[in-house]
Amino acid sequence: MVRSYIVDKLAPRIQGDGGWVEFISMEGSEITLVFRGECSKCAILDRCTDWIAQKIKNDLGLEVRIKAVRRKPFFWDS
């Protein structure tokens, strides 16, 4: 349920800003997401992960924590 919610509902919105999110796993209340594209170098990604957690709470009724894994492309990797 959480996976499809992220893939179908939230990922297209994040793609709309040049970002990219992939669902990796959910263990207990911790959801691990990989962020690519513009998200991978976003200095304020934590605000976005808070929004994701908030959306999941509002729409799915689940209290979750988001673990964000950034995957920068090589040309942004310093």
């Binding site: 919105r13 793609q15 594209g37 304020i44 929004w51 040309f75």
Partner: protein, 991 residues
């Protein structure tokens, strides 16, 4: 000798001046009143000006709150009560944001706020007590910002609201700040004289000494000091003649979807209109008829104001085209329609025909352009990239004459610097210094205004312009319009140099290949439009019932998707999804218009007989092509007449196949071929021409997988070193005969990488020399470029490439840096390598990138880029190419005609062309490019294209009108000579 590195720890005088300059900005606002009655509602745009409200109901918005959501639009409402102390004064609305906002106040469009401007003057509302402020805001800033790159780190999807304020500004301090912006820019620029820079720092320091940074006393004295000591000092002489043209480049889609460009455009235009209220000298240029159309549709109030400013000559439509399309991949007919629909809009809306093409950001320009420009009433051409983005050679001209494939010429300007500048003296001086036609070209063009996502000119840029005359070291600057600049400096200028041929951009070579699906669909639909229009013209000979609006609307959608960040593939994933959805919709529309019926005869819409075997769907067919079961057959199809699929016998005796365990030997009546298990040829011996086509020991039809790491411009570029690292394809299923019948024998091999599979079906025909290769890829690579290489045993130093309106010859030798830089070029339906007497062509159905190495060419098949789209080109692909060995050269072998056959299938429409027009067209060497109802509905338009490079004459048995590409009458008669590569448009009466 001992060396001690001295580290200066104390502040330099120059740094002290710059620091105090930055302090000045703290004092801009003399009084601020926070607006506290604010609500916000989050939404997501789902189509043009249509929203879904996804993030809850309207809620209060307070300073410190987070606002905006990913891909979000926020509707913000404020109620502001103007305090007594501010009434009657020059108020501003101040709001610092990384978002882009269209602001309406008390029902009137008041202006725009975005990262480049934080306040809107409220002079218009001076006498109001209350302000009802409505803001349509979206958070899709462009991902690069030349002026403030560091600001991008905090331009995420979620922003902190910093409050909104009514403000009174210290106008004298703001003016002093602009003085300092101007002068510190010069003082820090290496483009200006060292003594001048030193002088400026000293005098600016003296001026700032007069300012009290606590109470802002002394500001007027500092300004006066600058006037007397700097502006009135004329010891430092500048030179140069620079035309300043206000402009904002607007990508219709890029890091945003095209539905979002509607707001970006409206905001940009609104900002310029409000700036015109305050700066009477301000003139602004804006391109793309499509953007005007959306403004007229969704923001009629702003559009009416814009029309007024157009009439006054201050807002200048430029560009003539429907959008700023890619100018490599679209066909000639597409480019013509870009001008036709663009110019018709400008004529309807503003009563004018635009005489310039304005394409600052496109990735090179095909040599077919000058003729199309000229015949679309466009005498001038502007495009920036070749001057500043070429990676190898410096493009030698800025103001010049551009000669195209057919010899047509237009006046061309490739400005010396970028199309986005913020009008700083250093940028203007840089432009002048880079300008290469100082002696012949008149003034140089410098565009000013923020762009890519729109935005445009700022108050600061206008204030710079007002100060330029006071700086003797500056070049002479003239604020002008785009057309005025071109007319004055290029028009009838006898001294301009001539550049003959394409304007190849030595960069962004990957855009011929990235997003394979989009290019394939574009090609397919370009020809579907051709056939749909022909079908409609034949069905509705008096024009009645011709679905002109339906076709026009669909055509405009195709043209929209030819925008130079859509068709080239340089965009985020949702843009790709939008484009593919558009293509599906267009195809559905055109299929409906074509109205094929299973029991109707085929119609050959080409004005010559067909010779290439066709594939026709049939559930009982032996073969599968593009996922459809069917059979190959010869056709009896005269030009512009009904066609018939011919029966073939089922005999398989024409083929022999043997294997030595290493290679497969195939013998047909035409060839003796030997192939590796991976489908590449060891040998292809031509039994008719008694010659070998494969250079011994070299790859021929060899699929290569290269590392493809261009860096930041991932979707755009292919680097010259791409061949340095090659990854192996493993043969998982070696080449073997899969199916055959009396006409065709199909061999299949499957290649594999860890992530992808690549199936190749090779089809030999019994009595047709073409060899078709179908590539079926399940593609999941990253940073890979897949090419198929051809190293033929042909002695030539040039590759002949189709342009869609004739061919050009490209050298594949590497003698010069110009040749070397063109290691990856654009071609259309075919390329050919010929020596005297014979040659070999490769025809494709939607590939454009062609690698040129000495004595070897490679057709670029797929890329796997990750920026801007992580998933670019991933998934299933299925495309065909056909290798066509031939006698004679490409022209005598009719390669172009074969390529048209290959790309234009016959449709079951049961139509045929009326006589005597059919006979005229079929006896001509000209290619029937288009046959349609005229845009005014009063005649039929017949467009013919000379594509073999020969001269001739076409004679009609009745009088017709010769038209330009805008369908205006040019001449009348029944016999018309034509030149090599000429495109001719005729108007003929209905019925």
């Amino acid at each position: 000798m001992a060396h001690v590195k001295v580290v200066r720890r104390s502040m330099r005088p120059e740094e002290w001046t710059l620091l105090r300059f930055s302090w000045l900005k703290r004092g801009i606002y003399a009084d601020m009143e926070e607006i506290t009655e604010i609500t916000i509602r989050d939404a997501r745009q789902i189509s043009e000006n249509e929203y879904e409200f996804t993030d809850g109901p309207e809620r209060p918005l307070r300073r410190g709150d987070l606002y905006f959501t990913p891909d979000g639009t926020a509707f913000i409402r404020m109620k502001a009560h103007i305090p007594e102390r501010m009434k009657g004064k020059n108020l501003c609305l101040q709001l610092k944001t990384a978002a882009e906002m269209i602001v309406r106040i008390n029902g009137r469009y008041a202006g725009g706020i975005d990262p480049n401007r934080e306040r809107i003057p409220l002079d218009f509302y001076k006498d109001c007590d209350e302000l009802d402020i409505e803001i349509e805001a979206y958070n899709r800033s462009k991902p690069d910002d030349e002026r403030n790159p560091e600001s991008l780190n905090i331009r995420g999807c979620r922003q902190v609201f910093n409050g909104a304020f009514l403000c009174l500004t210290r106008d004298n301090l703001q003016s002093l700040i602009y003085d300092c912006v101007l002068l510190t820019d010069i003082a820090q620029s290496e483009y200006f004289d060292e003594n001048l820079r030193s002088f400026l720092f000293i005098e600016l320091s003296h001026a700032l000494d007069l300012v009290d940074f606590d109470n802002w006393e002394g500001v007027d004295a500092a300004a006066e000091y600058i006037r007397r000591h700097i502006y009135e000092n004329t010891d430092y002489k500048g030179s140069g003649n620079v035309a300043l043209v206000g402009h904002s480049h607007l990508d219709i889609a890029y890091y945003w979807r095209r539905i979002h460009a509607v707001q970006k455009n409206a905001r940009t235009i609104l900002i310029q209109l409000r700036l015109m209220d305050r700066y009477p000298e301000f003139r602004y240029t804006h391109t793309q008829a499509y953007t005007y159309e959306t403004l007229e549709k969704y923001y009629p109030e702003i559009f009416e104001e814009l029309k007024q400013k157009v009439a006054e000559g201050r807002f200048e439509p430029v560009g003539a085209m429907y959008v700023e399309p890619d100018c490599n991949v679209p066909s000639a007919e597409s480019l013509i329609r870009q001008f036709l629909y663009g110019q018709l809009f400008f004529r309807r809306a503003f009563g004018r025909t635009i005489d310039n093409a304005w394409l600052p950001d496109v990735f090179g320009n095909s040599s077919i352009m000058p003729q199309i420009l000229k015949k679309s009433c466009v005498d001038y051409f502007v495009s920036n990239k070749m001057s500043t983005w070429n990676d190898t050679n410096r493009f030698p001209h800025n103001n010049f004459i551009w000669k195209g494939l057919d010899g047509s010429t237009v006046y061309a300007c490739v400005p010396p610097t970028h199309f986005i500048t913020w009008n700083m003296p250093s940028q203007i001086q840089e432009n002048w210094e880079a300008y290469q036609d100082k002696d012949s070209g008149g003034a140089t063009l410098s565009m000013y205004g923020y762009g890519d996502g729109g935005s445009g000119v700022t108050e600061e840029m206008m204030e710079m312009i007002r100060r330029f005359p006071h700086v003797s070291a500056m070049p002479k600057c003239e604020v002008t319009g785009g057309a005025d600049f071109l007319h004055k400096n290029l028009g009838n200028n006898p001294n301009l140099a001539v550049w003959d041929g394409e304007l190849y951009l030595e960069m962004h070579r990957g855009t011929f290949t990235t997003k394979s699906d989009i290019k394939k669909a574009n090609r397919l639909l370009e020809f579907m439009f051709r056939d749909a229009e022909i079908a409609c013209a034949l069905r509705h000979p008096d024009g009645t019932g011709y679905p002109a609006d339906e076709i026009r609307s669909a055509y405009k959608k195709l043209l929209l998707n030819q925008f130079h960040d859509i068709l080239p593939g340089s965009h985020i994933h949702p843009v790709y999804e939008d484009a593919m959805a558009d293509y599906r919709q267009i195809e559905k529309t055109l299929n409906g218009i074509l109205g094929e019926k299973a029991d109707s005869p085929y119609f050959n819409s080409l004005n010559f007989s067909r010779s290439v075997p066709v594939f026709y769907p049939s559930p009982e067919g032996t073969f599968e092509r593009h996922g459809v079961r069917g059979s190959f057959a010869h056709v009896d199809a005269q030009g512009l007449a009904a066609g018939r699929v011919m029966d073939s016998d089922d005999s398989t005796s024409w083929l022999t196949v043997s294997s030595d365990g290493k290679t497969l030997r195939i013998t047909t009546p035409l060839y003796r071929a030997e192939l590796h298990p991976d489908g590449s040829f060891v040998s292809l011996y031509d039994e008719k021409l008694h010659r070998q086509w494969v250079r011994e020991g070299h790859g021929f039809n060899k699929v290569h997988l290269y590392g493809d790491y261009p860096g930041m411009y991932d979707a755009w570029d292919i680097l010259p070193n791409y061949r340095d690292v090659e990854y192996p394809f493993i043969v998982s299923s070696p080449l073997s005969l899969s199916v055959m019948d009396g006409l065709c024998a199909e061999f299949e091999t499957t290649l594999q990488t860890e992530l992808s599979s690549w199936k190749m079906r090779i089809r030999f025909f019994r009595d047709f020399p073409g060899i078709e290769i179908e590539h079926i890829a399940d593609w999941h690579e990253k940073h890979r470029l897949c090419k198929v290489n051809f190293a033929p045993d042909v002695l030539t130093r040039e590759v002949v490439c189709d342009t869609s309106a004739g061919f050009i010859r490209r050298e594949w030798t590497k003698n010069t840096s110009w040749q070397t830089a063109r290691f990856e070029v654009c071609h259309h339906k075919w390329f050919d390598l010929s020596e005297t007497g014979a040659g070999l062509a490769v025809i494709n159905e939607g590939k454009y990138g062609l690698g040129l190495e000495e004595e070897e060419v490679s057709l670029s098949l797929l890329r796997a880029t990750i920026r801007p789209d992580i998933e670019s080109d991933m998934g299933h692909h299925d495309f065909c190419v056909m290798i066509v060995p031939h006698e004679g050269d490409a022209v005598s072998a009719g390669i172009n005609r074969k390529s048209l056959e290959y790309n234009i299938p016959m449709h079951r429409t049961g139509l045929s062309f009326p006589e005597p027009l059919r006979s005229v067209l079929c006896s001509s060497s000209l290619v029937l490019q288009s046959f349609k109802l005229s845009e005014d509905g009063r005649s039929f338009i017949l467009r013919l294209c000379e594509q073999d490079g020969r001269r001739g004459q076409i004679v009609f048995p009745f009088r017709v009108k010769l038209l330009n590409m805008l369908e205006d009458s040019v001449a009348e008669g029944n016999a018309f000579p034509f030149r090599p590569f000429e495109i001719l448009t005729f108007g003929m009466p209905l019925s």
